[in-house]
Symmetry: C2
Subunit: 492 residues, 2 copies
């Protein structure tokens, strides 16, 4: 299986595409730009959903569900929103098929069933949600509204890649409404921190928290907070965004409230989202030439046990002991699978579970039974050791924690060694081409310079890091004055 | 709040519509036929999802995700499927909006961005899923495929009602593939039983398990199993269906496998689903003129505690004691809310939580503090009693179980007293008009008679109950011979 995987050094992009398919995460469908998320991939997404949902609820949010369709006129209401998204999208114009009389057995769109107003399949739900909030908010007592939606959205992308860019994708979108500007800003910042915590603690992906420049900002937002990750090929990936919307949508949809003094004011808004794109980030951060490497906190199967035997008696003896171990591991909350297929050899199984990124593999044969041991192999660093069966369940539990933490540390070391300060445009281009990663450089703050650098190098400003230090300098391209560095990178 | 609710006797249909909105379950949206599921309603749906998902996984199923869109040609592939669903649906024909030069600020569909092939927004996913399964199945070793999807679907309904019939709705759809006819039939039956168990144990709704007649069957199925419930107005509601698809979809999408002897065979299929329609069934089975009545197993809030006080000292003393009780209840897995709003009076709070169907209300005032008691009120039968605070948490835990079981018993008594055997068409019509409910009658087994009875009475055959007894008789309309009774009813 894995022997057919293209290596990262050969072709990183091909490696990714092959891995996603071979590890049973997803595949292209018969519908242009849309993917099928296969059970193994979906199981990882479910774990991500469950954890994020828990974190959203702990921060006071509730889930709700809003329509898939947005009437065209609603898009027009928020002009900047329309500019940002509404152009490339799926448009429903008719509501009935009929038998095609000229082609027996074929169906055609019934021309008599044309909609009066076209419906857009939501590329994002600000418009439909803010038009609903208008009915929900009268007084300051109705605020804040802290709502999240798990949904599918569609953006008519021309060039698609599994998880990273698909026409339809799954995501969550939080949409909140507040009485004050300060509270809305606090909310957008809070959700950026929630995303960062999720990325680091569960996905084992270090992220830079920062602000987008005006060019890179969501069209309807006054400020976009983001978390930016770095992939193994030195390209950045935007892993989540949280927007402070100001009063833009409240004004577009006339959402006002009576404040404590009885005066009418426009509501302040935020929106924030992460998507199945995170699956791509997960794959590209940790995996290797043998296949997936999954962090234990998100692995659908944390431990796989492979029996090694020649006779049925050996298999029975191994199975009996393994069943005991499985019970103990499950008690500790470890998800474990006994791969007792008799149709495949151990070597095949080893390769398959390596490809699928199961964090820990336990092998057990007749010698182990005799010696009271197991062979324990880590997927991340491929190390193996022989472990006594006494107390092995606690050993495994701790090992999973260690793997989780090692994955993060390794990704952090890689990331930190790929943030390079440069002070000239020559250096900028050289680092970008030879090493990649984040380039920390002074920028004069203008959209023109940003655009020019993008044209010349394909690198964009990923963010103005929240923790950047004020520092006088001169722009790497124009030499004009700058008061701090920003992070550039080529990006997914 | 609840005082404005239309009563069931006045107008059952209006009562339902008002209740769904006033109890904050759902509301109509700005998009024709599509609803907004509000946080309180969605919280109930989440509990239903979580339980069903658990039951699906316990029966060996995995989740996956397939595209929202189905190319027109895929629909045509399974002719009967197309007949059943494909006619009234949302059709995407274009993929871009552009600025309308004749109407500044307005957008128009870009005529240059017409799709080569129209895409149907899925009304159900058999076509897209079976076209995918073709790539997943080669050998008997790849079977069974036991897959479920949680998704939104769209059917262009002309007359819609919140939850009961909406253009877009949420559901789960299971799609399985098997090596043998027997195994597929067993799967369809198993899922019908899973649905019945869920309806009875969690929704407290008794259901009849049965088979649909050919007329009422899913177009692409060889057999449709169903669970049928009875609402308080005497109308039936189909609460879930499970289809044995035979080899219909395998043949339409050429899904074959090599059996153990190496011979190519078509795969056998099933599909099964329940939807947000169940929310309508839940409301209509248990609720009353004061509002919702929720079974404890699905109530987002199982217990609400309302403090009754005049002074701040009293409030503080109550709060302290209530916090202790909350901790104890949460330890037992009871979800509890302390309604400590100082903006509303107790009477208002009582009415609000009655409207929202919280199963148990606990009130506590200064006298209770002195006497070491709480006042405990049941939402279902509106009874109240004073309970000593010693061990009240276990008392509440047991009370919730009792309420769950009483709700089911009451619904069962109502249902059982509304199954009426009739032996003449006069009697049939009279019972239908005066009493409603299920009418158990002999039928000659022909689609013609079924159609005629429907035309004359609006009653349809809800199902041929699995537990019906063989019994010779003569058809209630034609007098022709029959070998058993079937259940007729008017239905949602």
């Amino acid at each position: 299986m894995s022997k057919n995987l293209t290596t990262r050094a050969e072709d990183y992009s091909k490696w990714y595409n092959e891995l996603v398919v071979k590890a049973d995460l997803a595949e292209n469908s018969g519908v242009r730009g849309c993917m099928v998320i296969k059970p193994y991939g979906y199981a990882i997404w479910e774990k991500m959903q469950a954890q994020l949902d828990k974190m959203f609820k702990e921060t006071g949010h509730e889930n709700a569900y809003f329509p898939l369709f947005v009437p065209k006129s609603m898009f027009e209401a928020e002009e900047k929103n329309a500019e940002g998204f509404a152009k490339e999208c799926a448009i429903v114009t008719h509501y009935r098929l009929k038998n095609d009389e000229n082609n027996p057995g074929k169906l055609m769109v019934d021309p008599n069933a044309k909609l009066e107003e076209e419906l857009i399949v939501r590329p994002t739900s600000e418009a439909i949600i803010w038009s609903t909030y208008k009915g929900w908010v009268q007084s300051y007592r109705d605020l804040p509204l802290l709502i999240n939606q798990w949904a599918n959205v569609v953006r008519w992308e021309m060039r698609t890649r599994l998880f990273l860019r698909t026409a339809e994708f799954l995501w969550q979108e939080g949409h909140t409404a507040h009485a004050t500007r300060e509270e809305a800003i606090e909310e957008s910042e809070k959700m950026m921190h929630v995303y960062a915590e999720f990325a680091q603690e569960f996905m084992a992906i270090p992220v830079v928290k920062g602000l987008k420049t005006e060019t890179e900002r969501f069209a309807g937002a006054e400020e976009t907070y983001c978390i930016e990750a770095l992939m193994q090929d030195g390209k950045a990936l935007q892993a989540g965004t949280s927007h402070f919307l100001g009063q833009n949508f409240a004004k577009a949809f006339d959402v006002k409230f009576a404040n404590k003094e009885g005066k009418q004011e426009y509501v302040w808004g935020t929106s924030w989202g992460v998507s199945t794109r995170l699956m791509g980030a997960l794959v590209m951060t940790h995996s290797d030439d043998k296949g997936l490497v999954l962090p234990p906190n998100l692995a659908p199967i944390q431990v796989v046990i492979v029996p090694i035997y020649r006779t049925e008696e050996q298999f029975d003896a191994i199975s009996e002991q393994v069943n005991g171990l499985m019970t103990e591991l499950k008690k500790l909350g470890v998800s474990v699978k006994f791969d007792n297929r008799d149709t495949q050899k151990p070597g095949f199984k080893f390769a398959e579970w390596e490809l699928k990124g199961v964090p820990v593999r336990i092998a057990v044969g007749p010698n182990d039974l005799e010696n009271g041991t197991y062979e324990v192999a880590r997927r991340d660093n491929l190390s193996k050791e022989v472990v006594s069966k006494e107390g092995i369940e606690v050993y495994i539990q701790n090992l999973l924690k260690r793997i989780q933490s090692d994955l993060f540390t390794n990704a952090l070391n890689y990331r930190d060694s790929h943030i390079t300060e440069v002070n000239s445009f020559e250096e900028f281009k050289e680092v970008l081409e030879t090493k990649g990663g984040f380039i920390s450089a002074h920028w004069d703050g203008t959209a023109e310079t940003e655009e020019k650098i993008k044209d010349l190098t394909k690198a964009t400003i990923r963010c103005i890091a929240l923790n950047r230090v004020e520092e006088a300098g001169s722009c790497v391209l124009t030499g004009n004055s700058s008061n701090g560095r920003v992070l550039f990178a080529k990006a997914y």
